[in-house]
């Protein structure tokens, strides 16, 4: 029986084949819920916190997940290999790099006042 991944934020779940990382399993099924970035453990867009279950992590950039965070269950879905059913919360999000509706310039929740050398 395949492992199931439950995403708390959207109360959705999907199966994950043996040995696959969580993000690849989600993408293969055309499912959404976890933002997809580099798929290489480098950008942090798919950051999650594992709430329940056994797993192992492949190499993750410390710029995205510190050693302390990793010990607390934080991971990147693209490097998260489940070893049992997992319940997780999505932490990462895609930046809104150029949100024209919000003004000239906008990034994440940062107000549209970019540093500007006068």
């Amino acid at each position: 029986m395949s492992i199931r991944i439950h995403i708390e934020n959207c109360d959705d779940s999907f199966p994950c084949p043996d040995g696959s990382n969580v993000l690849r399993a989600m993408e293969c099924l055309g499912r959404r819920g976890i933002p997809v970035g580099c798929r290489g453990g480098g950008c942090g867009v798919c950051k999650v916190k594992v709430l329940d279950g056994r797993y192992r992590n492949e190499a993750i950039s410390r710029a995205c997940v510190s050693a302390e965070e990793e010990a607390e269950g934080y991971s990147l879905a693209c490097k998260l290999i489940p070893e049992s059913d997992l319940s997780l919360r999505v932490i990462g999000k895609m930046a809104r790099s150029f949100d024209i509706s919000r003004g000239a310039f906008h990034f994440y929740g940062v107000p549209a006042t970019a540093p500007h050398r006068s």
Binding site: G37, R39, A95, A104
Partner: protein, 310 residues
């Protein structure tokens, strides 16, 4: 006037999480040649048409991203002159000289940090070990190419906060020209700058984002749109993480595809573009046309492309 001063991008040094996975990617997928490994464990690569010893450097680290980018200047006299001007400028910080030989087959390098937080280097000498086809009655391309097989490392796109300071440093001190720019809002705030030190539409580009020292991509040159399409086949065949493409950029007119190395550092291979001369007016794009400026075919912005960086 012939090209003088800063001639071209010379090297990019990247951090990777798993060295052997990265070596496999940059040799078998991108198609660079591994030229050597040093005592620090760094791995050096070059593209098939590059004359100098190396252009891409990888080291294993616990964070992905770019360590530094290097620029070849035309002479030791230029190196000393530009180093002096950078030392005297508040725009360049964390200045140091790196000894000759710290990079193999390479002379002394002048290292400095630019206002967007990126580390840049200037150097005047690197041993010419030759391209794969040689320089006497050469064939147009070598046998035994692997992967996408670009002819050269071409440029980087970098994200940082003080775009004004970085553009001033590159134009006023290093002699670059502004080939294209993106401006936003009623104040026409410059949010992207495409800078050329040569006849290319860009040798480096910067996008204003409120963080320092972020790496968007390093790019390699292919010979044709057909080679870009073949690169797309290779991305699927080798199960590489695709970002987007194949498509065309409005900005620079390049035909392009983007993908990620196994540590999440973005790569581009591209062809086309145009020849840029110093008397060509700067092309300006406005933020209400940013969709076709970046992706000319589907005319839509892509959040992953814009916001995923290492």
């Amino acid at each position: 006037m012939a090209m003088t001063g800063v001639l071209r991008p010379g090297h990019v040094a990247l951090r990777v999480l798993d060295l052997e996975q990265a070596v496999h990617h940059y040799t078998e997928v991108v198609g660079l040649a591994e030229v050597m490994r040093d005592a620090q464990g760094r791995v050096f690569f070059k593209a098939w048409d590059e004359a100098d010893h190396h252009s891409v450097v990888l080291r294993k680290a616990d964070e992905a991203g770019m360590d530094y980018m290097g620029w070849r200047v035309d002479s030791d006299a230029t190196l000393d002159r530009l180093a002096g001007e950078l030392e005297a400028s508040p725009l360049a910080t964390e200045i140091s000289w790196i000894d000759a030989g710290e990079h193999p087959h390479t002379g002394r390098r002048f290292r400095f940090t630019i206002p967007t937080g990126h580390v840049m280097e200037l150097y005047a000498h690197r041993d010419v070990t030759g391209c794969a086809t040689g320089y006497l009655n050469p064939e147009p391309w070598p046998d035994d190419l692997r992967g996408m097989a670009p002819s050269r490392f071409d440029h980087c796109l970098l994200y940082g906060d003080d775009l004004d300071g970085t553009v001033e440093l590159f134009t006023k001190i290093l002699g670059f020209n502004l080939a294209e720019q993106v401006v936003a809002g009623p104040d026409r705030l410059q949010i992207a700058a495409f800078l050329s030190c040569s006849n290319k539409a860009h040798d480096v580009a910067f996008i204003r984002q409120p963080m320092k020292n972020k790496f968007h991509h390093c790019s390699f040159l292919l010979g044709s749109w057909n080679e870009v399409l073949k690169a797309a086949d290779i991305i699927s065949k080798k199960k590489v993480s695709l970002d987007l493409g194949p498509t065309r950029h409005g900005i620079t007119r390049g035909e392009t595809i983007y993908f990620f190395d196994p540590s999440g550092n973005r790569n581009e291979v591209f062809s086309g573009g145009y020849i840029w001369y110093p008397d060509k007016p700067t092309i300006t794009w406005t933020d209400d046309q940013l969709g076709p400026a970046i992706f000319y075919h589907d005319r839509k912005l892509n959040e992953a492309f814009l916001s995923v960086v290492t």
